[in-house]
Amino acid sequence: MTTPEMTTPEMTTTEAPPPVDTAVGQRRRWARYLVPAGLSAPVLVLLVFSVLWPVVSAAVLSVSHSETSYIADASRYGYILGDSFYREVLAQTVVTSLMATAATLVVGYPLGLYMAFATDRVKRIVIFLILTPLLISVVVRGYALTLLLGPVSPINHVLPEKWAIDLVFTRWAVLIGFVYTFLPYMVLSVNASLTGVDLRMLAAARSLGAGLWYVLRRIVVPLSAPGISSGCVIVCALAMSSVGLPLLLGGEGYQMWLLLVYDQVLNIFDWPMGFAMAMIIFVVIVGLLVLGQLSARLLRGRSR
């Protein structure tokens, strides 16, 4: 799971210098590294065992001939990418994720503005409503959506018979599910990027005669560009690597890439195949991250 702050282009390192000089009182040079080493060792061990090594070993298996042999064999990548069905599902996954990202941006950007600029009491409630779902399981949220979008939905009581909706297991359900689930991330990201803008600045712009759209165009959007791009990257990445939602809302009717991975690994037990497919989407996501960084830099440079 990612949060907006983490992939904002600027920050990756801390600036705070150690306030108490830990070298004072230390007799030997290397002794001063004992404590930080001791503090960081457990974390590093965990990270190696839960992240680094697992990913590597999964990658290794995906290019092995089979589960039992260690002969290098990347042929299954060729097989996957050569198969038109797989290519179609991959394209579908990417397209749906992009569509979901665009929709989330449109819905979420004004919310980000609200959170950044509003000072009223309702804001507290709205923040709670938007952020709490992050702590609610994707399964619960997705299931609730299937009720709303399925045949038993109360919406169908209102709509005439022939317009009755049964969106579950369609691409629309997945799309709505993505927007519904990932909206908070976009909102958080946009909000975070607007911390440098205060109402005084906007008042100054207005006093100079600028209308609302001009202010948005020349000041707010350029300044929130990093937030927009990192929000988009996060939502797209989450959508492309999402399992629970496609399972609930897409299921048989709409194939998403990660459902295929799920199938391969847990139903068919062809792990190398499943891992290879996972690696493919991993590469796509990393490519997306890089694109995001580049576009953020471009946007910032172009702001006139």
């Binding site: 801390t14 306030p19 999964a58 507290r124 619960v140 009720l147 690597s241 399972l247 847990l266 991250l289």
Partner: protein, 269 residues
């Protein structure tokens, strides 16, 4: 923003807020159907399925298992994350920035890849996937949040307080206990609770690392959803929903949700 424009934004935000609520409300309504089919609005009201959910062995076991893995992974995440946070914030050593970046990597790698990786590694090493792999995965996933909260908490401590304590003759240990610890306690506590909640709701890693008898609640709900069409899932999900919302509310009151999840304050900058 003029007042009028802010008002428009506020209306928009309220509308979206209500829309976000709607599916959950629908689910709550679905859960109070007494019959075997879900009707909305319910034709026959009752809390029967809540009773069924509480008595359901699989669900209870899954709930228990979820709680335990959440507790374990939260505990680990806090111990490891706070230690790492301390190392990053208070010490200078080669590789400090690298450590910081490393702790944040779980956010960058798609959860699915981590999940299958753990599956592969643990099974090839002969370590049981569940609960060990599950806890490992959840701990790693919570690490970035805990560490970030710790860093924020430590960053808020005025270093001169520490110097003052030391100059008055306090031992380093006493100084940590009386000056540092009280000030970072809220950050650590909120990290603990956050990690717990995140583990509870986590789905992707859980799907791949669950085994019969050792399944987390979300995964069990998924299974039931696939096989049943009665309100049981709705009732069980509603229980989980209410518990989570309550926890979120208490967290918000005590620490401020916005600050927890994004690092910013809702009162401004």
């Amino acid at each position: 923003m003029t007042e009028r424009e802010l008002r428009v934004l506020r209306w928009y935000a309220m509308v979206v807020g209500v829309l976000l609520l709607t599916p959950l409300v629908v689910m709550l309504l679905a859960s109070v159907n007494n019959g075997f089919t879900i009707f909305l609005p319910p034709r026959d009201w009752g809390f029967r399925w809540y009773g069924e959910a509480i008595r359901n062995d699989f669900l209870v076991e899954a709930f228990r298992f979820s709680m335990m893995t959440a507790a374990a992974s939260a505990a680990f995440a806090v111990v490891l994350g706070v230690a790492a946070g301390f190392a990053i914030a208070r010490y200078r050593f080669p590789g400090r920035n690298l450590l910081h970046a490393a702790v944040m990597t779980p956010l960058l790698i798609p959860t699915v890849v981590v999940a299958i990786g753990i599956l592969q590694l643990f099974s090839s090493l002969g370590i049981p996937i569940s609960p060990e792999g599950l806890v490992a995965g959840h701990t790693a996933a919570s690490l970035p949040f805990v560490t970030r909260l710790t860093l924020a908490g430590i960053g808020a401590i005025d270093p001169r307080l520490e110097s003052a304590a030391l100059s008055l003759g306090a031992s380093r240990w006493l100084m940590y206990r009386t000056v540092v610890y009280p000030q970072i306690r809220p950050a650590v506590l909120s990290g603990l609770i956050l990690a717990f909640l995140l583990s509870l709701e986590e789905t992707t890693i859980a799907i791949f690392t669950s085994t019969p008898g050792a399944t987390t609640l979300p995964v069990q709900l998924l299974r039931y959803y696939a096989n049943r069409s009665d309100p049981l899932v709705a009732a069980a999900s509603s229980i989980l929903l209410v518990l989570t919302v309550l926890a979120a509310y208490l967290l918000d009151r005590r620490f401020g949700l916005l600050k927890l999840l994004s690092g910013n304050d809702s009162t401004g900058r």
